[in-house]
Amino acid sequence: MAARVRRAVYPLFQPGGPQLRLFRPDFFMAAVRPGVPQPADTAQFRVSMEMTKVDIKNYLEKIYNVPVVAVRTRIQHGAHNRRNHKNQRVKKPDYKVAYVQLGQGQTFQFPNLFPEKEQTPEARSFDDFKNKYLEEEAQRQRGDPRRGGVPDWFGL
């Protein structure tokens, strides 16, 4: 398993040699909301580019005790057509996406991280008050509608 640990050089595996074991991996896995609807038993992750399907399976099973049945990965190419203030092309970084199918009938639905706040009566009345005040301010700034948008310092 290739790691991005700074100076560590792991011995190449040869038949008969010891199994490589990592105890504190230097990888991240971020669960993301899928862009297209996924089946209920599939969770979508953004993982480090060096991770393989076997790595992802072991990571989830050993560290998080999540039963994994199948993993499919793909590499998403980051767009390279944005331009900065110097008109140089700026690339968004590439990343690897993993679709993990959970076992034992488990399902995963990405939670709604920004639910609608319930408004208490005081907050609602404060919001109304605020909106009314802002409306009145905007009305004051607008000027005489009969002048058709012409500013009042112009003319008589």
């Binding site: 609807p37 996924q38 049945v69 076992g103």
Partner: protein, 445 residues
């Protein structure tokens, strides 16, 4: 982008350059003017509908079945490749939704008069009664059939099966199997030997088998549309297209017969629900490719043996039981067998129906029945499929209450172990079910 611009100039497969083809039926005889219909070449929904109807009419009026199949699969576009032997999780539910199939566990029950005639004793049993009893597959029937069909010598059949097994696994001196090719080493030759000798033995009892054709490693293909999707990227982005599927199957053995098997249940029966899956087929995962849209049953249209009897599938090394057990996926073992049975049999029966001239606009008028045995050499699972409808496209599925039905058993072992020239724990029931599958024939024979 020159390629996409070029496509717009030449409409692939639909080069209607003259309105003369669209003249259609003349108006009522008292009218001086031709009928007022939508344009055939405008960029409008009415024009598209008219082109579609013209295409349907062309297929309906095709001179021969080959011409009909050629027109049906004329337009090539990317389509999902459905593999009957797949390791995808819960593939059988997805395949049921693609083919509008109801899965009924267990083999189909046969007609009551034949089961009632089963307990008739002895050697004096008349040939039609024995034949009728022997034709009854079903887990409940084997003992009754064994009693009532004494001329079905169980010992002879058992010795035949054991001989074939021992010959392939014990007596013959074979080298080590090639890597990941275990099924070609022993189970494949054993299955071929067993089925060909059983079929030869049972020819006397079943005249249909005598007129049958046994194919070795044939090819079965079927192409169909089911559902709709919006094209995601490319020069056709945004258009609504039917979802296309293709099955390319290679059963190990296949028996084709000149007469059709009888229907199991009436055409309009409803034995359960078809699972509905809202997601795109690519989430199974299923992948798209564009190639020839082939419809083939194993022989060309002119072959007299144009109906299917039984298929025999061999489970590949990738799907063997041990791999599922090591990965803690015991429930997926049966899923793999079921997915194989459903997909292969749907493709075969639907291709048989297309060989008779039916297609999704001209739905089948009689059900098409075929059988299959899926095995990995030791475990056998039997399936029976009745095709009631071919109309799976968006327009034709709307008012179509018919569903295809697949009966299937779980996989049972035929024997426990082979050691020292002896087969231990031979299971007679599986053999009897196999024999009853082979003896299945229309009522007239």
């Amino acid at each position: 982008m020159a390629a996409s611009r070029g496509w717009r100039l030449i409409r692939h497969g639909r080069c209607w350059l003259s309105q003369a083809e669209f003249s259609g039926a003349p108006g009522p005889p008292d009218s001086l003017y031709p009928p007022i219909v939508a344009s055939a070449t405008a960029k409008s929904k009415a024009a598209k509908r008219r082109r579609l109807e013209h295409f349907h009419q062309r297929v309906h009026e095709a001179a021969s079945i080959e011409e009909k199949l050629r027109l049906y699969g004329l337009l090539q576009r990317p389509k999902y490749m459905v593999y009957p032997q797949t390791f995808a999780i819960n593939a059988d539910r997805w395949y049921q939704s693609f083919t509008k199939t109801v899965f009924v566990p267990g083999l189909p029950p046969r007609a009551a008069p034949e089961a009632a005639r089963a307990p008739e004793p002895g050697a004096a049993a008349p040939e039609p009664a024995a034949g009728a009893a022997a034709r009854a597959p079903g887990a409940a029937a084997p003992e009754a059939a064994a009693e009532a069909a004494p001329d079905l010598d169980l010992d002879e059949l058992r010795s035949l099966a054991c001989d074939a097994l021992l010959q392939e696994s014990f007596y013959q001196n074979k080298k080590r199997p090639f890597l990941y090719r275990d099924q070609d080493h022993t189970p494949g030759p054993f299955l071929t030997q067993l089925i060909s000798s059983l079929a030869a033995l049972l020819c006397g009892r079943n005249p249909l088998l005598a007129a049958s054709s046994l194919d070795l490693n044939p090819e079965v293909n079927y192409y169909w549309h089911h559902g709709e999707e919006v094209v995601v990227h490319g020069h056709r982005k945004g258009r609504v297209d039917p979802v296309r599927f293709q099955i390319d199957d290679h059963p190990h053995l296949q028996i084709r017969v000149p007469k059709q098997l009888p229907e199991v249940v009436p055409l309009e029966s409803d034995l359960g629900d078809v699972p509905v899956i809202d997601h795109k087929p690519s989430k199974l995962p299923l992948f798209k490719k564009q190639y020839e849209n082939k419809v083939f049953i194993g022989s060309k249209v002119a072959d007299p043996c144009c109906y299917g009897h039984t298929q025999f599938h061999l489970i590949p090394d990738k799907l063997k039981r041990q791999r599922f057990l090591e990965a803690n996926l015991e429930d997926q073992i049966e899923v793999a067998y079921r997915a194989n049975g459903i997909a292969s049999l749907f493709a075969w029966t639907a291709a048989q129906a297309m060989y008779q001239g039916f297609w999704n606009e001209a739905d089948v008028t009689r059900p098409f029945v075929s059988q299959a045995v899926v095995t990995d050499g030791k475990y056998f699972a039997l399936f029976c499929y009745q095709l009631n409808t071919l109309a799976l496209t968006v327009e034709t599925i709307q008012n179509n209450p018919r569903k295809n039905i697949c009966w299937g058993t779980d996989s049972e072992p035929l024997y426990d172990v082979v050691e020292d020239g002896d087969v231990k724990g031979f299971n007679d029931e599986i053999l009897l079910q196999l024999v009853q599958f082979l003896l299945n024939r229309p009522k007239e024979l």
